[in-house]
């Protein structure tokens, strides 16, 4: 039996089919993964993402710590509540994890990391803080649950459950910002306009004992419970990477479609992995790159399937699907593949049994 979130009983009561995900028993769907996908695109769906780990970093040197720890630059975070997506790299540029960091206020940042990597991330962060001799509090917030409410109707449905005095400011929040607000029970919730579906919506972090009540209230408001299955098809349609599939410690961000998240400027910011990535750039960039695929034939792309890229120096070279699924919106299969850099986009790849066209 894996670890369970504070919402496990809710999933069980709704008849969810559960799977092991990073050591957690998580719902994969509540009946139909495709129906759940459509609900998020058309209306509103909710995901229990309490298995993800909230880490609070407090201290006067928190900003300096994160500037050195993360490949993206927390110097971009100037306004309270602003969020930044970043990779956490090791010295060789391998991706330890991908995460979101929020500036809460001076000397306080909140980080959300993946479930399967939480223990390693915490150990890494604490070891770096100690190595760099920084006085910081790095707190694992296991007392918080997180519910992602996503879809065109999601923000209105969440706002309606907040105290009236909070609603307009929560709704006025810009994309990729979060803010603390009071709940009707008097506790503090953190409501962020972020997500992993390509839809508008909120991610709500709240005390774990209040999670079931919020879940029930959202259900009553017509928000569809959605599992990890729909979460995967939604994120792939939106072109978002999944840690463990599309990148991991053996891959750097430059070969994972994540170069845009690495801040090489300012040049004097010395972050972990910078030297290794600069060496790769000096050599003309990584030999591989991550591309999006649309399958022209029937069938479904699956992780680890081989793809063949014709015509690179007349020698066929191999690539591999890192994520593949059926897109309910397009009604055909889509995915990511890691292929040789020389492969051009909008080129047709062959796979042993399928024809796939690349879309950048």
């Amino acid at each position: 039996m894996g670890r369970r979130t504070p919402l496990y009983q809710q999933h069980f009561a709704l008849g969810a089919r559960t799977v092991d995900f990073g050591g957690w028993d998580m719902p994969v769907h509540y009946g139909s993964q495709i129906e759940e996908h459509h609900r998020v695109r058309r209306d509103a769906g909710m995901f229990d993402v309490s298995h993800m780990c909230v880490i609070d970093v407090h201290g006067k040197s928190a900003r300096a710590f994160l500037a050195r720890l993360l490949a993206n630059d927390v110097g971009k975070l100037r306004q309270a509540g602003k969020a930044l997506y970043s990779c956490l790299l090791d010295e060789s540029g391998g991706v330890i994890d991908d995460l979101i960091v929020y500036l809460m206020h001076d000397h306080f940042f909140r980080i959300v990391v993946n479930a399967g990597t939480r223990d390693g991330d915490l150990a890494w962060m604490r070891a770096r803080a100690s190595e760099w001799d920084l006085a910081l509090d790095i707190l694992e917030r296991s007392d918080l649950a997180m519910i992602a409410v996503q879809g065109p109707e999601a923000r209105a449905k969440v706002a309606a459950l907040l105290p009236e005095v909070e609603r307009s400011s929560v709704l006025a929040q810009e994309a990729f910002f979060g803010r603390e607000c009071a709940s009707t029970s008097g506790s503090r919730w953190f409501v962020a306009r972020t997500g992993y579906t390509g839809e508008d919506g909120f991610e709500v972090m709240l005390p774990d004992r209040e999670a079931a009540d919020l879940w029930q209230a959202l259900l009553a408001a017509g928000v569809a419970p959605c599992g990890l299955g729909a979460r995967d098809t939604l994120r792939l349609e939106a072109g978002m990477n999944l840690y463990g599939n599309d990148m991991d410690r053996t891959r750097n961000p430059l070969e994972s479609g994540l170069a845009w998240t690495v801040a090489f400027e300012p040049a004097e910011r010395d972050f972990v992995g910078r030297g290794a990535l600069e060496n790769i750039r000096k050599q003309g960039g990584p030999p591989l790159k991550l591309v999006g695929l649309v399958l022209e034939d029937r069938g479904v792309l699956r992780s680890h399937q081989k793809v063949v890229v014709p015509g690179v120096d007349a020698v066929q070279v191999g690539g591999e699907v890192t994520s593949g699924t059926f897109s309910p919106t397009l009604e055909r299969s889509i995915g990511f593949a890691r292929v040789p850099r020389a492969a051009s986009t909008s080129q047709t790849f062959a796979s042993p049994c399928r024809q796939a066209a690349v879309r950048a």
Binding site: V28, S32, R298, V300, T325, F326
Partner: protein
Amino acid sequence: MSQVPADLRYAKSHEWVRNLPDGSVEIGITDHAQHALGDLVFVELPEVGRALEAGAACAVVESVKAASDVYSPVSGTVLAVNEALAGTPELINQECYGRGWMMRVQPAAGSAAELLGADAYTAELAAIGG
């Protein structure tokens, strides 16, 4: 709890067989199978006229989760396939014993002898925790 209609016979590989009045049989996958697969997105059926061998792969069902072979529960010749599944594979999820049927086959004599009755198939499911 999976549905196992009493009037059908079953293969251990989770296909069902319905006897039709003209001596042919209708074949599909069971409720347990469609549940385990999740939402179906593609179905590949054999060509009409193809000779099938009991226990050999005769069709492919692909779900959001995985592609799986369907094994012919009988030997015989394909008489017809359910064309509706090409555009609406979800019929198998919705009505696996009805509108989600897959093919009609003229069975070779005696080739259905190994099939399980509903009770035996239910016991089989209980044994695998289904």
